[in-house]
């Protein structure tokens, strides 16, 4: 067994020890995971964003407009001192403003128009038979939206539609729950397979 597999096996067991109860071994592994994950993110950001998009084009290729994001980025560190902390609002304003400006048409297109166009479909087939699937989708979207409409009290027709909407929501939550459990179980099986075959050599 190589050193990497041994370390991975020990750390896997350390994390799984939490199933017994919270303990120092688990806490140690958790702390190591936090530190290593932050370190990994730091390296990836440094190499893929700061070096590739900023330092190399600015200092090697002489793309002077990149001084703007460099200065804005450095202003972020103004937060460490009370006298300069308000300067960090400038880059935040740029990020928030441009993000909001980009989000409006993007949300309108992807989250509203595309979803609506996929929902509006014929409810009768070519032979004149009602298409149950289409009726379920249109009814489900309309009644679920009724449930999320809070400007009027859920009484009468709106109340009935909202109640049907909750049933559709429950189906969605149930299926999402089922898939989540299955994906976690599949990861767990993968870890067990690693422990029993590569680490402990109990199974083939």
């Amino acid at each position: 067994m190589d050193v990497g597999t041994a370390i991975a096996g020990v750390l896997t067991l350390a994390v799984l020890s939490f199933l017994y109860r919270d303990n120092p071994v688990y806490k140690m592994a958790e702390s190591l995971l936090i530190g290593v994950s932050i370190g990994y993110t730091l390296v990836v950001i440094w190499s893929s964003t700061l070096v590739d998009l900023l330092f190399r084009p600015l200092f090697l290729d002489g793309m002077l407009p990149l001084i703007i994001p460099l200065v804005l980025g450095l202003l972020m560190f103004g937060r460490f001192h009370r006298a300069t902390s308000s300067l960090s609002r400038l880059p935040i304003a740029v990020m928030i403003g441009s993000g909001a400006g980009v989000a409006i048409p993007a949300m309108l297109d992807a989250r509203i128009l595309k979803q609506l166009s996929a929902t509006v479909m014929p409810v009768l087939t070519a032979s004149g038979i009602p298409d149950l699937s289409a009726i379920v989708i249109i009814g489900g979207v309309v009644t679920t939206l009724c449930y999320f409409y809070f400007s009027r009290e859920h009484k009468g027709a709106l109340g009935s539609a909202a109640t049907v909407g909750t049933w559709f929501l429950m189906v969605f939550f149930g299926t999402t729950f089922g898939y989540t459990v299955m994906s976690r179980m599949s990861t767990f099986i993968g870890r067990m397979e690693f422990l029993l075959t590569e680490f402990l050599h109990i199974a083939n």
């Binding site: 740029v94 928030i96 441009s98 400006g101 699937s133 989708i137 559709f168 149930g174 299926t175 990861t187």
Partner: protein, 206 residues
């Protein structure tokens, strides 16, 4: 920095980025490309700020003696990755990737797998068919779990097909309604931010 200046900058960038969507002019495309690139760079600095803050906070707490071993291990892990990257690069076969593959990835996937037990135990306690919505939730979850497990197919031939139909129709309908709601919410929040009604991002008490 005056709050009003920040609001004006936010408004300006918001309007420009919104307006450029409706133009195919090379200038508009160029502005869009540049601002998105600037956005990534500033975001990277914001993450750096978080790392520095994490480092400072842990050093301070170690000095005070609280959770000293755990915080030390965190800092060792944090420093190990950049040091490994500086020494051996980040390519295939580097120490950086070795740490990622043998330390970070196994622990991450095990923590992810741990949640299976907590989700299962929470559902065992919480899933009670006391009302119609609760019964529907329970039924949909059981159906999906059975259809996606090994016994689903042998148990009944229609189980996987029914599960697929539920996923693609009633579940999809609710998902679409949620997405439309998220879209409308994001749209109004973005508008409120641009015109300066929503100011919580400025921080402070004023």
């Amino acid at each position: 920095m005056n709050r009003r200046v920040a609001l004006v900058i936010c408004f300006g960038f918001g309007v420009v980025m919104f307006a450029q969507y409706f133009s195919k002019h090379p200038l508009a495309r160029g502005v869009n490309q540049a601002v998105l690139e600037y956005w990534q760079i500033i975001f990277a600095f914001a993450l750096l700020l978080g790392v520095v803050s994490f480092f400072q906070n842990n050093i301070k707490q170690i000095g005070h003696g609280s959770d000293r071993p755990y915080r030390t291990v965190s800092l060792v892990g944090l420093l190990a990755m950049p040091v490994a990257a500086v020494i051996g690069g980040i390519g295939a076969g580097s120490p950086f990737l070795w740490i990622f593959e043998n330390v970070q990835a196994p622990m991450q996937s095990t923590v992810f797998a741990l949640l299976a037990f907590f989700v299962a135990s929470a559902s065992f306690r919480g899933f009670r068919a006391r009302s119609v919505p609760a019964a529907i939730l329970l039924g949909a979850a059981i159906l999906i779990l059975l259809s996606r497990s090994a016994i689903g197919g042998p148990l009944s031939g229609w189980l996987p097909d029914t599960a697929d139909w539920i996923r693609h129709h009633p579940s999809m309908a609710a998902r679409r309604a949620i997405l439309i709601g998220i879209g409308l919410g994001s749209l109004t929040t973005s508008l409120r931010v641009i015109v300066g009604i929503e100011r919580t991002w400025l921080g402070g008490k004023k």
